[in-house]
């Protein structure tokens, strides 16, 4: 039997899932803190803007955005199948395209910094 090419889509999904499991809770806490007015100097807009201006930081941010979106897209695809929506190719095209569009947008805005 031929070996599946599923690793192409599963690799980023698994990486993204592991990544978001660690990064998302931290982001939620930081966002809540900021919303409550507790913005430490390190998280000030100018500082973060300067960080994102660095080339390596841009690559890292784009990578986190891509992996998180891809992970969510793949999970959504599987959930759709389990819920009885069997048009897998159509669903896969839509959700992966959305993840790539989100990644494209983040790259676009990162490059303008």
């Amino acid at each position: 039997m031929a070996r599946s090419n599923k690793p192409i889509v599963w690799g980023p999904f698994a990486t993204g899932g592991t990544l978001t499991a660690f990064v998302t809770p931290a982001l939620v806490v930081v966002t809540l803190l900021a919303a409550l007015g507790a913005v430490p100097d390190l998280l000030a807009y100018e500082r973060l803007h300067a960080l994102a201006a660095h080339g390596l930081a841009k690559v890292a941010i784009a990578g986190v955005v891509f992996l998180s979106l891809w992970s969510a897209a793949h999970r959504l695809r599987i959930t759709c199948y389990d819920l009885g929506i069997r048009a897998d190719t159509l669903v896969a095209t839509i959700v992966y395209a959305a993840a790539l569009a989100g990644t494209g947008a983040s790259v676009f805005y990162l490059l303008r910094i």
Binding site: M1, R3, A14
Partner: protein, 244 residues
Amino acid sequence: MRQVELEVLRYNPETDREPHFQRYAVDCQEEWVVLDALNHVKETLDPTLSYRWSCHMAVCGSCGMMVNGEPKLACKAFLRDYPGVIRVEPLRHFPVERDLVTVIDDFVAKLARVKPYLIPKDKAPEAAEFRQTPAQLKRYKQFTLCINCMLCYAACPEYGLIPKYLGPAAIALAHRWNRDSRDGGRDARQEELAATEGAWECSFVGACSEVCPEHVDPAGAIQQVKIESTVDWYQAHLMPWTKK
């Protein structure tokens, strides 16, 4: 002594066009399991009732059936844990042969396909046995506890949707040998495991690990197979020179 009511799925291929439920009132003792009640029915009320069983101690894996809609070993399901009428049906996702007896050919064929036996890496030592450290044993020991009861196949929604899917127990048992330090057969097993109908049909529902009476973690094994197959894929396509 108290009384429980069993509602058992009956099907006789020679006389019945469709399966139907039959009720039995059973005088039972506090420590009885569903299998005791079935044995009591067969011995005293209805000798035509058919079901598989052998050891009565969760070792042989023969008496898997649906108890109130959940895959259970009949010898491990205590009557006292079920209030009201207890519904007993054959294992889900398998064709019914007669009453609670299912046709298990599909699982047996899949199990054979993954080569669940030692394919030695090196020649066996002369007049001695292979040696293993406790750490090497620990890598696979959990997966040796599988008793082939097929509760995981009855619990797996993907197997219900896609009958070609290799399924939890077969993958976990293949993985057991892949993780064995004496074994060198992973490449041969990958032909089945890394196929679309292999580990990739799994969507990590995790029901297989929840129902396993021996606390094997087939869902964990399948995810590990996915990771290893992904590494294989990237090696084969991006770094072909690393291939042996």
